[in-house]
């Protein structure tokens, strides 16, 4: 497969997954507000904070009101990680590889992009929740169409790796939102308000029902964090994402599991196996936020190694 093509398939999938996660991101906060007691202070700044783009936001919008934050993360075409920018980038990448992906994938992505573009044009939206649900479903539909119509060969595996790494990264950030929201008042830990927030968070990762089924029903911060970080069967948990991404990587290269033949395999394999033997208690002891931060850094590093190994093939011959 052409390096340029593999690169485009990779980014196309990352961007679609990113758009979905931004939607989840904003939606969790909307849900928190609905569930919160009257008079609770709205907190929108953490959403921007965990994206790492707070300075940019401050410069462009100033105050972190609901309206500003939602606009920034959803429809701001000058912000490269907004939903609309992600979809535009995904579509541009898809346009560059239309001959490789299936017709259905292209049509679904094109429809997805047009839906968001149309929503951006008819603002203000009366029902944000409905819009974000639509974004999430369109992203699922894209993944499903891809799964069902594209040969599960090299290109498909690059797409999988991209989607899974992006998802793992965003799961760390969604967990982090909770951390930042709690920061101002540590005294709320363990209160009914706290539980509502954890429920909202589980829902935003589509994990509520799955969590209930496997974690002795009770909602405790530790168990929720464990579920979203270390569960080996839930498709949005970080460990699951890393395991599957590693599997795809090895299917591309043919390197046997448990060994590595290039820097990308080494970085990812190391990270995955580290989580294999970690416990939630150790994570909490070392500090959840610090742990998540470090994960993000290592996953970025893995992304870089993938780029160097497969996409930036040296040109001189």
């Amino acid at each position: 497969m052409l390096s340029r093509v593999a690169d485009s398939i990779y980014w196309l999938n990352r961007y679609v997954e990113r758009a979905e996660n931004v939607a989840r991101f904003v939606d969790v906060n909307l849900n928190l507000l609905l569930d919160g007691p009257i008079g609770m202070k709205e907190q929108w700044q953490p959403l921007v904070l965990v994206t790492g783009d707070l300075p940019l936001f401050r410069e462009r919008y100033g105050e972190a009101t609901a309206e500003n934050v939602i606009q920034f993360l959803t429809f701001d075409s000058k912000y490269p990680n907004s939903i609309i920018s992600c979809l535009q980038a995904a579509r541009e990448n898809a346009r560059c590889v239309r001959e490789v992906i299936s017709r259905e994938m292209w049509e679904q992505l094109n429809a997805f992009y047009l839906m968001v573009k149309e929503a951006a044009a008819r603002q203000p939206l009366s029902d944000w929740h409905e819009f974000f649900t639509e974004v999430k479903m369109a992203s699922h539909l894209f993944a499903g169409v891809m799964d069902a119509t594209m040969t599960h060969g090299e290109g498909w595996h690059f797409g999988q790796i991209a989607r899974l790494l992006e998802r793992a990264d965003k799961t760390t950030r969604i967990l982090d939102v909770k951390y930042f929201i709690l920061l101002p008042s540590v005294k709320d830990v363990g209160t009914p308000l706290d539980e509502l927030q954890w429920i909202a968070l589980l829902k935003s990762t589509s994990a509520y029902e799955m969590y209930r089924k496997c974690s002795q029903h009770r909602i405790t911060p530790k168990r929720v964090a464990e579920f979203l970080i270390l569960n080996r069967e839930f498709p949005r948990s970080i460990q699951f994402c890393l395991m599957q991404a590693e599997r795809s990587l090895h299917l591309i290269t043919g390197t046997p599991a448990g060994t590595w033949s290039n820097p990308a395999e080494r970085a990812l394999g190391r990270l995955r196996s580290e989580l294999d033997y970690l416990t939630i208690d150790e994570i909490i002891q070392s500090g959840l936020h610090e742990f998540l931060d470090d994960l993000q850094r290592q996953m970025n590093e893995t992304g870089n190694k993938i780029f160097e190994t497969f996409f930036a093939i040296e040109t001189s011959a």
């Binding site: 497969m1 390096s3 340029r4 239309r98 001959e99 017709r103 292209w106 093939i313 040109t315 011959a317």
Partner: protein, 496 residues
């Protein structure tokens, strides 16, 4: 919407012999359209257009900051060609493409036609499409032009003419394929009742044509489509053809010359390329041989090509044969090489390069169409009868300053066909671009792109000048007989 008011007027109409009188081959379609509920035709027109947009069947518009994509405006009233008529066109096109190939081989090899004085040598040497680096080149299996799009028009009396040949990178065939897809869902029943010749085999024939260029002992040849990239106006087409053939779509930056071969950069290292279907103009394909400033091509490609280690379709240098001045010699070229008369005539053409003809052109500018020898897309043209005195004056000067670069033709009265314009049928002028492939044998895709001038009265059908397109239905022979013999019973037996 009905055709009752539609009047072909003093034009050759593709669907109507006279007011209220559809041609036999169009009768079933007209009947069907009359049976539709009010507003339904417009609705189908809209859904056809939106299907094309959703499927991204678009072209990029140059010079637009937003990189806007548009669909080629599409009209759902097809143009219909009878099998009998098509057979004749097909023969004519095969004859022409064969002669053009012999001509190209001769021009770059022995130049017999120049030595025999049929064409003045200086006209060849001054043609911008003539490439000296291609002299003595021996393209695989001796074919130079593998893919041709030849523009045909019809005059007032129904006579077909060749308007021009496109032998470099003719585009538009993707619209033939996509328009057909949409039309099948727009008029499914009429479509199946009429026995229309399929166009869908084009990608298979194209792939065979390209594979025909590989050495017979090569087990698993790699074919690629070379595109200038996603910002090229025909990018959609490049991508569709690569997809439909199942081959890689590459850009110049994906390719490199290494170890004496053309190779592409893959996730597993370099991989050899054997055949390139290039959609990049000659000038841009190798900065070491041609334009040094080109970022689109591959440095060193020409050397690999000359060594016979990669095949290129169309061969480099084919542009010399679609120079409009050379076009004027086509009847002589066919006679010279084949000893036959052309089956489809040229539009009568004056060469400004010849003193007498130039005088005639300058004296009759208000009746003639003047074209620059090397422009396409409707640029560099003067339509005499519609031009201002000032424009005619300007062209008169241009012609005298550079006579080699201009030809003139009488303004033909292009045929028309009913087209939906604002909730009514208007007769709009059309041309036809069939696509011809030269592999083991010559294959003409049945039909081709019908381009339609959507501006009222306009004769310019190019997409860059506000033209649109239609599906072209070439009937099968069985269907011809059916349509001719018992149109009425056919209509009655068709359950709408």
């Amino acid at each position: 919407m009905r055709f009752d008011e539609y009047d072909p007027g003093d034009f050759y109409d593709e669907l109507f012999a006279a007011k209220g009188q559809p041609r036999p081959e169009a009768a079933v379609l007209v009947k069907r359209i009359h049976s539709l509920a009010p507003g339904e035709l417009q609705q189908r027109q809209q859904s056809a257009q939106s299907a094309l947009f959703k499927q991204g069947v678009t072209f990029s518009v140059y010079g637009d900051a937003e990189g806007t994509e548009r669909i080629l405006p599409f009209d759902i009233i097809p143009r219909i060609v009878s099998a009998q008529e098509w057979t004749r066109l097909e023969e004519g096109l095969k004859q022409r493409i064969y002669a053009l190939n012999v001509f190209l081989a001769d021009i770059y090899q022995d130049q017999k036609i120049l030595k025999d004085g049929v064409i003045p040598a200086e006209l060849i040497y001054s043609a911008t499409g003539f490439l000296k680096p291609c002299l003595d080149l021996q393209p695989p299996v001796g074919i130079w032009c593998h893919i041709t799009g030849t523009d045909l028009i019809r005059d007032r009396d129904g006579q077909w003419y060749v308007l021009e040949d496109n032998l470099r990178c003719p585009s538009g065939v993707s619209y033939v394929l996509e328009n057909r897809r949409v039309m099948k869902s727009t008029f499914p029943r009429v479509f199946s009742a009429m026995e229309i010749q399929p166009v869908e085999k084009y990608p298979s024939h194209l792939l065979e044509t390209l594979l025909n260029l590989t050495p017979p002992n090569l087990l698993d040849p790699t074919v690629v489509v070379l595109t200038p990239g996603v910002y090229n106006s025909a990018y959609f087409e490049h991508s569709l053809l690569a997809q439909q053939m199942g081959v890689e779509l590459v850009e110049g930056r994906d390719l490199v010359v290494a170890d004496g071969y053309l190779q592409m950069r893959t996730t597993k290292g370099l991989q050899r390329v054997d055949v390139v279907y290039r959609r990049i103009d000659d000038d841009f394909i190798d900065p070491l041989t041609f334009r040094a400033d080109s970022m689109l091509g591959v440095p060193g490609l020409m050397e690999v090509y000359r060594a016979g280690r990669v095949a290129i379709a169309n061969a480099l240098g084919t542009g010399v044969a679609d120079d409009k001045v050379i076009y004027a010699y086509m009847p002589e070229i066919i006679r010279y090489y084949l000893g036959e008369d052309p089956i489809i005539p040229n539009v009568p053409t004056y060469l400004c390069w010849e003193q007498q003809q130039q005088e005639h052109v300058l004296a009759n500018l208000e009746e003639l169409v003047v074209k620059a020898a090397n422009e396409s897309g409707g640029y560099g043209m003067l339509i005499g009868p519609k031009a201002t005195t000032e424009q005619r004056h300007e062209f008169s000067q241009r012609i005298q300053a550079n006579p080699r670069n201009y030809i003139a033709q009488p303004t033909l009265c292009l045929s028309r066909t009913p087209t939906i314009v604002n909730d009514r049928f208007e007769g709009c002028h059309v041309d036809l671009r069939p696509y011809i492939l030269y592999g083991k044998e010559i294959y003409v895709n049945p039909g081709g792109l019908t381009r339609v001038a959507l501006k009222k009265g306009s004769l310019v059908v190019n997409s860059s000048q506000g033209g649109g397109s239609k599906d072209t239905w070439v009937l099968s022979h069985a269907s011809d007989q059916l349509q001719g013999a018992s149109v009425q019973s056919q209509i009655q037996s068709l359950r709408f």
